[in-house]
Amino acid sequence: MDALPAHMRPERSFQGLILTLQRYWADYGCVILQPYDMEVGAGTFHPATTLRALGPKRWNAAYVQPSRRPKDGRYGENPNRLQHYYQFQVILKPSPPDIQELYLKSLAAIGVDAAVHDIRFVEDDWESPTLGAWGLGWECWCDGMEVSQFTYFQQVAGVECAPVSGELTYGLERLAMYVQGVDRVYDLNFNGREGAQKVTYGDVFLQAEQEYSRHNFEYADTTMLFEQFRMAEEACKKYLAAGWREGGNQREHLMALPAYDQCIKASHAFNLLDARGVISVTERQSYILRVRELAKACGEAWVHTEAGRAV
């Protein structure tokens, strides 16, 4: 690590932070994936987590996932709220016995020294009603700031996890703000250069935050979104129904992944509709339930696929 040029160091640049984490988890033996190419609300939605957390096969992966939370947009005016941000996601199945130490070492790798910083594991149970998933764990605090979520998955897509996976989610912008000592997310140094060559987070994303906030709250086409939700739901069910095969002595599913993509689409359409304020409290519950039904059916299909089943 000493060989790193200054602009690549995790405390100097946003990308340096990402690269350091990738390098650290690659060294551990994770497959380093690229972001999933769909709009999702959190890294957990990536099939590399949601689906791969199911079934008995060993799975260690890490990746950055751009996450969209339409409701959190603030037109670029809030120093730390964004409708689009990056999560760094690590999934380790089964959860290794030293997972806490592995996590703490990853913090050390990005420059958080446990001899001067107060690192704490504070109870935070995680539940995703849309994914039919829950787990126990903590939010990890560094000097009073939540920098990660740490969860032992107990159930995902309605299926009991056997074995249990450990999930680590780093909020990259927050962590970067912390190690760079910056109070406003847009002031983050993105590329680690100075002077004319310096690119900030604001240079990359401020305009997008403004445009998408406008879109999410004011203009997103609700007729289209309702239609998209309906279509995605229908397509998901159709692909699921079409994917089942009765072969020999076991049932098999051949299209769990494409079906799950439609579940992700339905979920994102719902998030946008929710941000537009066109879903009432009671309807909200029923939409969440509909997405969960899709997620559960996808989970059921996945455990009957090559990657999801026992042998």
Partner: protein, 701 residues
């Protein structure tokens, strides 16, 4: 006698679960020991974020031997019965059994001796069961073993179990067992960051001492003391005073093994936010204490945090980090507060028409309009200005839609007051926004301003009548809508402000505000049914204050008693009266009259109502009693009409000598049936006369 040391070392246990877990561990282990005949001398349990620990001292080395005689079949009984007996008792032949003779014949008796087992073996049996069945509020599986069913569940992954048993003077033994691949031993670990190395421990004394050396304060009480002392000291040194907070202290002590208290600052500008909002922000989100200026009582721009390490830089980085987070949080809070101030409370009201209060009781908007109408009706009865009461009721819930209350629900009401004052609302109207929720419990303050009182009553009565109308009454321990608390609130508002209010009328009025389709119960019965609920709550409340609850029954048994203040006054006067000799004797006389009456009523299968015939009085005592009853009735009646219950009781007291004399001299069951009937009617009159103040038959001796 030997001691047990048990430690369950895990990943971070939620702070809120630690105290109960330590208690459960102690209870479960010691209960089981006693059940196994191992009576111990003492036990103590501790919790830190990473461990539950238990020490039990003075456990006998072995269980006592048990001797038991078991009676078997008759001598010469059927062979299967004898074989069964041998099998059940473990005897190898029937010759080993004794023979005992009694009236029924000769029977085999087996003498079973069960030698006591060594305590360490008993422990090795009971501890794994306790660990596997430990009652965590939520538990989880983890790791490789979670692939198989039946794997251990614990609050967070369990890493090591220390279990030793032995005398203080000797090297103890390990209580050997294993759970899910974790073997018991003598190895634990110190502080996660400051002393992570393995520690070998023998018994509690060296365990406690070695942990302390490894930067772990085992006893939560010691951690709390340390935090509190240091926090007070830090505040004092800067001329401030710690705002103490027991719940926060409990929580913070559950987040650290080695508390290090530090003080940070925030920008003075944030002090423009109300103190309560600053405190909620810093407390709820950052688990830090705030400090105040002891002279003004206002918050200072400082906070106190509790870190888990002695940092090598003396805590500079930790303070700086916490200051940055608190700055960001306070910026949010300030933004919320200032945003809220831009909108008048009144302008928020239309939104309530889209928010469901309860699926059967309609929207919040409808509920607010009901409360507004009811508050205006109650206002003149409690001396409040009708328009102000109406206005206060309209605005009282509006802060539920503000950003600050959305973020910190516990500030509901209070924020309404601030926002109302900021927009120039009348001070009593603003106060009602906060105070109409009160009293929230038996210890909470009862509002006294009439505007607050009328809205508080209207809010609670609407809630009660609403849930009564849809038949959602509290049952047993279930009271999801806190209706008992609402009723108690009404009782306290009425009695502590000495208000005159008919509960029945108020209930009718509240019900008339509900759409008729909402009411799913018999509407005619609702107000009296609700009144009975108030009677129950009043009884509970009076009992808690040490008064006799049977007196409440005696007063409510008169019927139509829906003026709670008068009920309480009657009960008080009655209580005092019954403490006097006159009262006790009159009660005895009345009871005697009732007893005789009920016997004779049963015998004759009739009642003895009606006025006695003066012509049939034979003895002076009868005439005297009849006269006294007439007098007591009219005096007590007049006193009750003036609500002077003490005077009514004094009037009743005058009945005592003639009643006593009557029972002394007069034989009720006279041979002449007409005289007998007349005397029974006279007894009935005693009962009737006392009903001017209460139904004496409901009073227990």
């Amino acid at each position: 006698m030997p001691d047990l040391l048990l430690e369950l070392f895990s990943e971070e246990i939620p702070a809120r679960m630690q105290a109960k877990a330590a208690d459960d561990l102690r209870r479960m282990v010691t209960d089981k020991l006693v059940a196994e005949g191992l009576v111990y001398e003492g036990a103590k349990a501790f919790a830190t974020p990473r461990r539950l620990a238990l020490t039990v001292h003075g456990i006998p080395v072995r269980q006592p031997d048990l001797k038991e005689e078991r009676r078997g079949p008759r001598v010469g009984g059927a062979e299967p019965a004898i074989q069964g007996f041998l099998k059940a008792t473990g005897l190898s032949s029937i010759d080993e059994a004794k023979i005992q003779s009694d009236k029924k014949g000769d029977f085999y008796i087996a003498l079973i001796e069960k030698p006591g087992r060594p305590a360490i073996e008993v422990l090795a049996d009971i501890l794994p069961v306790i660990i596997r069945t430990f009652p965590w509020p939520k538990s989880m599986r983890w790791g490789e073993r979670s692939a198989k069913s039946g794997s251990l569940s614990w609050v967070r992954p369990l890493h090591a179990i220390t279990a030793t048993f032995g005398l203080e003077t000797e090297e103890p033994d390990v209580v050997k067992f294993s759970i899910d691949g974790i073997e018991t031993g003598q190895t634990t670990y110190g502080h996660r960051f400051m002393a992570p190395a393995e520690i070998s421990v023998r018994r509690f004394a060296d365990y406690d001492a070695k942990l302390l050396a490894a930067k772990v304060v085992l006893d939560p009480e010691r951690r709390k003391d340390a935090i509190l002392t240091d926090a007070r000291q830090l505040a004092f040194a800067q001329g401030f005073e710690l705002v103490e907070d027991q719940n926060l202290l409990d929580e913070v002590a559950g987040l650290v093994e080695w508390p290090v208290v530090l003080m940070g600052s925030f920008d003075e500008d944030f002090l423009s936010i109300p103190d309560e909002v600053i405190r909620a922000t810093i407390r709820n989100n950052q688990k830090c204490f705030v400090v105040r200026n002891p002279k003004t009582g206002k918050l200072a721009s400082k906070f106190i945090l509790t870190a888990n390490i002695e940092a090598t830089d003396g805590g500079k980085a930790i303070i700086a980090g916490n200051e940055r987070v608190i700055r960001a949080r306070l910026s949010d809070a300030k933004f919320f507060y200032e945003t809220d101030l831009k909108t008048k409370l009144e302008e928020r009201l239309p939104k309530f028409d889209h928010i469901v209060f309860h699926e059967k009781l309609g929207t919040q908007g409808e509920r607010i309009r009901r409360i507004e109408r009811l508050a205006a009706e109650i206002a003149p009865l409690v001396g409040a200005d009708v328009e102000k009461a109406r206005r206060a009721a309209r605005l009282a819930k509006a802060d539920l839609l503000t950003e600050v209350v959305g973020e910190f629900p516990e500030l509901q009401g209070l924020m309404g007051k601030y926002y109302a004052l900021a927009k120039g609302e009348d001070a009593t109207v603003a106060a009602a926004c906060e105070d109409h929720y009160k009293p929230q419990g038996p210890a909470d303050r009862v509002p006294t301003d009439p505007v607050s009182v009328s809205v508080a009553l209207a809010d609670k009565i609407d809630t009660l009548v609403g849930f009564w109308a849809i038949d959602e009454k509290p049952t047993g321990s279930k009271d999801p809508f806190a209706l008992r608390r609402a009723a108690l609130g009404v009782i306290r508002l009425i009695t502590e402000n000495a208000l005159r209010l008919s509960i029945l009328k108020a209930a009718w009025s509240a019900m008339s505000g509900l759409p008729s389709k909402v009411v799913t119960v018999d509407a005619a019965k609702l107000p009296t049914d609700l009144l009975a609920f108030f009677a129950d709550r009043l009884k509970v409340q009076l009992r808690e204050q040490g008064a006799r609850h049977d007196l409440v029954d005696a007063v409510f048994a008169l019927g139509g008693q829906d003026d709670l203040l008068m009920v309480v006054r009657r009960v008080e006067a009655l209580g005092k009266f019954l403490d006097s000799d006159d009262g006790k004797n009159l009660l005895a006389g009345t009871k005697r009259a009732s007893n005789i009456l009920s016997i004779e009523e049963k015998k004759d299968k009739r009642t003895f109502d009606g006025t006695p015939d003066a012509a049939l009085y034979r003895l002076d005592e009868e005439k005297a009693l009849a006269k006294a009853i007439d007098q007591a009735k009219s005096e007590a009646g007049a006193a009750v009409a003036k609500e002077n219950f003490a005077a009514a009781m004094s009037a009743m007291a005058k009945l005592r000598p003639p009643v006593d004399a009557f029972f002394d001299k007069v034989r009720v069951n006279d041979d002449d049936p007409k005289v007998r009937e007349n005397r029974l009617k006279l007894l009935n009159e005693i009962r009737a006369a006392t009903r001017a103040v209460a139904d004496f038959s409901k009073i227990q001796d």
